[in-house]
């Protein structure tokens, strides 16, 4: 696992530090591309209207991608999620002082973010009572899970098992022992034993992918459990 970790995005970024390398830029870009929505949700939740939130998010990322924030906030460096949150808070606090609201562009390659989709997603999230921090964490968790599920689906499709995946997807959740294996077996035309094996394999793969995804945002493998717990807490207010 250690070798894998040497090449997670976040460790690459941290390793590059101030100097920056093409790999670090790419890594950071990957991370931001993946997790920009939670950030947007946070900014929106802070009370900024749609357009302002868009501006701010874009501006933040422009700044961020210039690696201006990587020097400070050392306590958060272990986890990208926390780091990003701290950075955006810092940014927003600074922005508040500035009067103008110019669009920031140029500089490093801006992320082309789908604002419309973001807005939609923000609207439909049934989480009106949450604090911005918690909303951020939840959105983060969902983004993370979406990516994992997408990858899992893609893998299964590549194996020709798309239908199996769709049928067995519900079993991915932390289930009790009374999973209706028999039903699934019937609808899939397999025997129960094979279904059990398939579910087990799917779950295992899911876990692996989940851990890999999380690992991309951490610098230390020991923190995976903690990160999982933190994300889980976002749902258990």
């Amino acid at each position: 696992m250690r070798d894998v970790f040497a090449t997670t995005h976040w460790t690459v970024v941290l390793a590059a530090g101030r100097g920056g390398t093409p790999q670090a830029d790419r890594a950071l870009g990957e991370l931001c591309r993946a997790y920009w929505f939670p950030l947007y949700a946070y900014v929106r939740r802070q009370g900024h209207p749609k357009e302002d939130a868009e501006d701010l998010t874009q501006g933040f990322f422009a700044r961020f991608l210039e690696r201006n924030y990587l020097e400070g906030l050392s306590s958060e460096k272990g986890r990208f999620r926390a780091f990003l949150l701290a950075a955006v808070k810092h940014f927003l606090a600074n922005e508040h002082d500035r009067a103008g609201r110019q669009k920031r562009g140029g500089g490093v390659a801006a992320l082309s973010l789908d604002w419309q989709d973001a807005d939609t997603r923000y609207q439909i999230d049934p989480a009106d009572q949450l604090s911005p921090d918690k909303l951020y964490d939840r959105a983060w968790a969902m983004t993370l899970l979406e990516q994992v599920i997408t990858r899992l689906r893609a893998e299964c499709a590549a194996d020709g098992k798309a239908r199996v995946f769709e049928q067995l997807k519900p079993f991915l959740m932390a289930g009790k022992s009374d999973i209706p294996y028999a039903q699934a077996a019937a609808s899939l035309g397999l025997n129960e034993g094979a279904v059990r094996v398939a579910v087990h394999r799917l779950r295992k793969r899911y876990r692996e992918l989940l851990r890999q995804e999380i690992a991309q945002t951490l610098s230390d493998p020991a923190q995976i459990e903690e990160e999982l717990r933190a994300l889980f807490r976002a749902f258990t207010d």
């Binding site: 968790a141 899970l145 979406e146 289930g175 025997n191 059990r196």
Partner: protein
């Protein structure tokens, strides 16, 4: 499943956790549950019954015609067990059927054979024996012939087909154990720490044997430890984890994901690096089982050492924690080491020669109040005095016999000292003493009272009267008896306090002397008196006959025999006393330091040797200075004794060499003490060592430093501190009944000696 459909009007709820389901990309999946599933360890073994459905008794009977199936015993993760009988051998057996293989695994049969053979080779009283093993093809194919040698027929493993073909059933025929497993015992609440301490060594034996044979259990847990009606421990399911290899749900997984065993009992390396697992994983599991037996809980997270949760010896903590080390290198490397340590503890805390049940007894006796005992004693004494008052006041003759008087005085003085010591010591000693001791402490004073204030004066009086009336009779025995009693009383009273057993023995010989020979002596004396009276009468009647001047021969011989017996008894008493004190007398004083100080830096029980040196110093403290008489020659002062050498230069050179050498040694000792201190400090930070251990380690280091400097006063002072800490500790433990009286005595003694040494060093310095 409607992907991408958003439902704004009614957000759905997750059926599992009840949280609101997000609409959108996660398509009906609950993020909370997904996260939970994500956090689940691959190794989680579900506690509910496995989906493996065991065959019915009828099916099994059909499959195994060579056995008489008596019933179904139970099922667990490793298969189903049936009670059976082997009619051909007329013995009971247990038939274990392993879970069927749902997916074909070509390597299974070969692995099964190999492992089963290794198991069948294990022959140990604490391991459930394997009689046979093999594979039967379940219904359909013919049953393969039973193989008594345990070699299964070469069956290719029958793959299961999509329509549910019948797989091969691996089975074992094993020794039937009429008993329960540890889990059942724990649940019934029948496991006390004492029983745990008797069970664990047997497990160690079994495991060590298996490890020597190259078999690792990998699944030690309470369910696998059986205890039969005779209290014998038997380990079951050896190596089955390796045969099954994987998740007991009977799912075959290829590649990684191999896991075995119950998570709580598994060693960390079984989870993280399954390929590097060796016999030390069993030691970890044993540690978990041990901890659970002692405390009733599992050692999870940051757990308390057992001595803080139940009343067990504090040193067991080390054993358990050492077994529970996360890294295999830091654990015990052999199971036998666990057993050895436990035996050392068992023999260290207890007075020598007593069984492991002793501490419990000592605790029970703790309740004895000394007040009733003392009252009984004084009451008896008073009664005896009252009963014999006439003797005291009526006869004044006993004062006349000088030897009697002397013996009486000597005996009396010692008797008084004994009673004084008993008076001082009884409250402490009765706190946690043994029945033998209690008997000794009471018996000797009471009986001695009668002895010295009643019997002996009577005897003396009798002899005095005899002497007066018949001056021609050689009354020699009085002197002998007097001396005998004097010596005896000295021995008895000196030993009685700490070796009541020995003292009683001496006393018994004196009883023999009295009750057997005293009447005989008196009878003889009477016979002599009668004979001489008769002779006088005859002489009066016939004046020409010369008076009988010589004593009758029989009388003379009787006196001689009596004298010989007395001498023999005295000699025997001396021998007994020497035996009792021998270890102390043979201990020659070392060249440096206080000779009788138990080394305080050593944590753990001082050696048994120091126990026997106790009386000499106790008597020094309590009774008088006779201790020094029992000591060897005076302990030497700080440097080795110097002979007067012929060449002063040679000795000087030699001495400087010795000095330098001893400085090196002192330096090394300091280094070791430093390292020890760091180790303990580290342990204390994580809560594995107590603060008093840290204190002691610090003091040990300081002592080593002071010794290097050559500051004897400082050394003595620090050593005194250490003994104070120990004594304090023991006091606390005695109060809760966790330490025996012996430890208390030793600690107190050590403290007193260290204090004396400190004083002496100070005086030496000021001279």
């Amino acid at each position: 499943m409607n992907e991408g459909e958003t439902n704004r009007t009614m957000p759905q709820k997750c059926p599992e956790c009840g949280a609101l389901l997000p609409a959108g990309a996660l398509a009906g999946l609950c993020p909370a549950c997904l996260l939970q599933q994500g956090a689940a360890a691959d190794t989680a073994t579900r506690p509910e019954p496995k989906p493996f459905v065991p065959p019915t008794v009828e099916e099994v009977a059909r499959l195994f015609p060579q056995l008489e199936i008596l019933g179904f015993l139970g099922k667990g993760g490793m298969g189903a067990v049936y009670k059976a009988r082997q009619p051909a051998l007329d013995r009971r057996a247990a038939l274990k059927i392993l879970p069927t293989q749902a997916a074909p695994d070509p390597g299974f049969a070969e692995r099964f054979t190999r492992e089963a053979r290794a198991l069948a080779r294990l022959s140990h009283p604490n391991i459930v024996a394997v009689y046979e093993f093999g594979q039967v093809s379940a219904s359909g194919a013919g049953v393969p012939p039973a193989s008594a040698a345990g070699v299964p027929p070469a069956l290719p493993s029958i793959p299961s087909q999509a329509t549910g073909g019948m797989p091969a059933l691996p089975y074992f025929i094993m020794e039937f154990v009429d008993g329960v497993n540890l889990r059942q015992l724990q649940k019934a609440g029948r496991l006390s720490p004492r029983e745990a301490l008797q069970i664990v060594p047997q497990i160690c034996d079994a495991l060590q044997y298996a490890h020597d044979e190259g078999v690792v259990h990998r699944d030690i847990k309470p369910e696998n430890v059986l205890v039969d009606r005779k209290g014998r421990v038997k380990i079951a399911d050896f190596g089955l984890a390796k045969i099954l290899g994987h998740d007991p749900e009977a799912l075959r997984l290829t590649g990684e994901g191999q896991v075995m065993g119950t998570p709580h009992y598994m060693a960390p390396e079984q989870v993280e690096h399954p390929l590097t697992v060796d016999h030390r994983a069993d030691i970890f599991s044993l540690g978990v089982v041990f901890y659970e037996m002692l405390t009733g809980e599992l050692p999870l997270g940051k757990f308390q050492p057992p001595s803080r949760k139940v009343q067990v010896d504090v040193r067991l903590d080390d054993v358990v924690l050492h077994a529970l080390e996360k890294e295999p290198e830091r654990r015990y490397q052999h199971v036998s080491e666990v057993k050895t340590d436990m035996q050392k503890i068992a023999s260290g805390t207890l007075p020598p020669g007593q069984t492991s049940g002793q501490p419990v007894e000592a605790r029970r006796l703790k309740k004895i109040n000394c007040v009733p005992a003392l009252s009984l004693y004084f009451l008896t004494s008073t009664l005896l005095v009252a009963a014999n008052w006439r003797e005291f006041t009526g006869h004044t003759d006993y004062i006349l016999a000088p030897y009697a008087a002397a013996a009486w005085i000597v005996g009396g003085v010692f008797w008084a000292m004994l009673h004084y010591s008993c008076w001082k010591a009884l409250p402490e000693k009765f706190r946690a003493t043994t029945p033998g001791r209690a008997l000794g402490f009471l018996f000797i004073p009471v009986f001695n009272f009668y002895w010295f204030f009643v019997s002996f004066p009577k005897l003396a009086t009798g002899f005095n009267a005899l002497k007066r009336e018949h001056p021609e009779l050689p009354i020699r025995n009085l002197r002998g008896v007097g001396i005998a009693y004097a010596i005896t009383s000295v021995l008895v009273f000196t030993l009685a306090l700490n070796h009541p057993g020995w003292a009683c023995l001496i006393f018994v010989t004196d009883l023999v002397l009295t009750f057997v020979f005293y009447p005989g002596i008196v009878a003889n004396a009477n016979a002599v008196i009668e004979a001489s009276q008769a002779a006088r009468a005859v002489a009066a009647a016939t004046p020409q006959r010369p008076a009988l001047s010589e004593p009758p021969r029989s009388g003379g011989r009787a006196w001689k025999i009596a004298a010989a017996v007395i001498v023999a008894v005295v000699a025997l008493n001396c021998v007994i006393a020497v035996l009792a004190l021998r270890p102390a007398l043979s201990k020659s004083p070392p060249a440096s330091g206080a000779s009788t100080t138990p080394r305080p830096e050593k944590s753990g029980a001082p050696m048994v040797q120091t126990v026997v040196t106790a009386p000499e110093v106790t008597t020094r403290g309590d009774i008088g200075n006779e201790g020094s008489a029992l000591n060897g020659p005076e302990p030497a002062t700080g440097h080795p004794q110097q002979q007067r050498p012929p060449e002063a230069s040679v000795s000087a050179v030699a001495n400087t060499e010795i000095e330098a050498h001893s400085k090196d040694i002192a330096r090394l000792k300091l280094e070791i003490a430093e390292r020890e201190l760091n180790e303990v400090a580290r342990k204390q930070q994580v809560g594995v060592a107590t603060t008093s251990e840290l204190e002691k380690a610090k003091m040990a280091r300081d002592i080593a430093a002071a010794e290097l400097k050559g500051d004897a006063v400082e050394v003595a002072r620090l050593k005194l501190q250490v003994t104070e800490v120990d004594f304090r500790d023991i006091q606390k433990r005695v109060e809760v009944g966790m330490a025996a009286q012996l430890d208390y005595d030793k600690a107190k003694l050590a403290r007193d000696v260290a204090a004396a040494e400190y004083l002496r060093q100070q005086q030496l310095r000021t001279k």
